[in-house]
């Protein structure tokens, strides 16, 4: 990789550590992710994948080390980082008593977007026909689509996705991949926590495996590798 100035790096994390009471979930993680790159984050449950994602998203403060997103420090300049980041968490983060349209209208007001974009986004994520139902009745897959709709409204330069493909149908997986592709074409980067490589194969550039609190194995992802990985994934 050509030497890139640190502020072109989507994520520049050095020696990040985070502890939960007396167990260290992350012990000195180093991670560089440049714009336009899509990286899969692998690792068994409880190895701190979500923790790392939440630190980059400025939701958790690292107990050691530092993280810069496009040159902005996540602790000191969290405001700037937040305007660049789109975080798709496990929990959909939608309001059950509001309808799909109201949820996105709320997000549009918070993001200072024009409300005209709401219906276009609903259509893009395939929820236009259920736009006026309260989200409480939605399946988790549909709620995830609504959260992706919010992500589109944010137009983030860094996507942080926590198991975006879990309980999504094939159409949903295609939607996630198309959103990632669209954002990457616009110069964004993406870090996605995944358990299986198959759904993400078409967009992933490389994977990192989080083990023992550190980022170890770095593998390039191409068709051949995915097949071998998927084979022994059973």
């Amino acid at each position: 990789m050509t030497a890139i100035g640190t502020n072109d790096l989507a994520i520049d994390a050095e020696n990040v550590a985070r502890r939960f009471e007396t167990t260290w979930v992350l012990r000195g993680v180093d991670l560089r992710l440049s714009a336009g790159e899509v990286v899969g984050l692998l690792g068994a449950n409880g190895t701190g994948k979500s923790t790392l994602l939440r630190i980059v998203a400025t939701l958790l403060r690292p107990h050691a080390g530092s993280v810069r997103v496009f040159g902005h420090d996540v602790v000191r300049a969290s405001g700037d980082v937040r305007s660049l980041v789109g975080y798709l968490a496990h929990a959909p983060g939608v309001y059950g008593d509001l309808t799909a349209r109201e949820n996105l209208a709320f997000a549009a007001s918070m993001l200072d977007r024009d409300h005209a974009e709401v219906d276009a986004t609903l259509e893009r994520v395939g929820l236009l026909d259920v736009a006026d139902q309260t989200v409480r009745v939605f399946s988790s897959g549909m709620q995830r689509r609504l959260a992706i709709g919010r992500l589109l409204l944010i137009r983030p330069r860094l996507l942080l996705l926590d198991e975006p493909y879990s309980n999504l149908d094939t159409e949903g997986v295609a939607l996630v991949n198309s959103v990632i592709a669209e954002r990457v074409d616009a110069g964004a980067a993406a870090l996605a926590v995944v358990h299986e490589l198959a759904p993400a194969a078409s967009v992933l550039d490389r994977t990192l495996t989080l083990a023992d609190g550190r980022l170890g194995v770095t593998e390039r992802v191409d068709e051949k590798t995915v097949i071998s990985l998927v084979a022994n994934d059973r």
Binding site: L59, G79, S83, G93, D97, E102, M110
Partner: protein
Amino acid sequence: MSWRREWRRARAIAWKDLRTERRSKAGFSSVTVLAVTILVLFGFALGPDASVGRDAAPGVIWLAVLFAGVLAFNRCYQIELDGGSLEQLILYPGTRRAIFAGKLLANFVFVALMLLVVVFAGIVLFQVRIPSSWPALVGILAAGTIGLVTLGTFYAAMASRSRAREVLLPLLLFPMLVPVLLAAMEATKALLGGNVMGDAGAWTRLLVAFDVIFLVATFLAFEFVIEV
């Protein structure tokens, strides 16, 4: 950070909270009915004697609103916590004060409406004579509600995310509200008693001073509360 955009965000949050409150069945009506129930229980405690009731009415009305109001404050953050949307709320650009302003607005509307019902019920139950200077009374009730809602919304941001939240919020909130309660009760009593504005005026000034001090303090302190 243009004020206009911050204000738009605060309005959006207030609108969202109030819409959620109206949709969910356990919302406004049940808390208001609870407040009236508390009023009735005080009525039993004070006994049927009209003059005792009339004298205690201001105090009883405020206590009913306070106890019922506490439930609303914790709930307004529960909406965020249930769906995991508090994180998304924090991630929206702009300052965190817009979140506090929005919650404050929503809680003020909620408690103000409840107060209207409780005051009306209190006047009827305790045969309170409406004074000629009732606009001043509305002013005092508004100032008292601002004080109650400001601290209530602020402390609920912490209590709603800790253990034993139902105990922690009243434990933190009630001692802090002593000046509001005293001022609101005494000013209301002074007005209902028809005595000269002097006394009620002094209490009202204290109430307004309390509101201003703690509105500024809570706005400054909110990001320390919501961030960690």
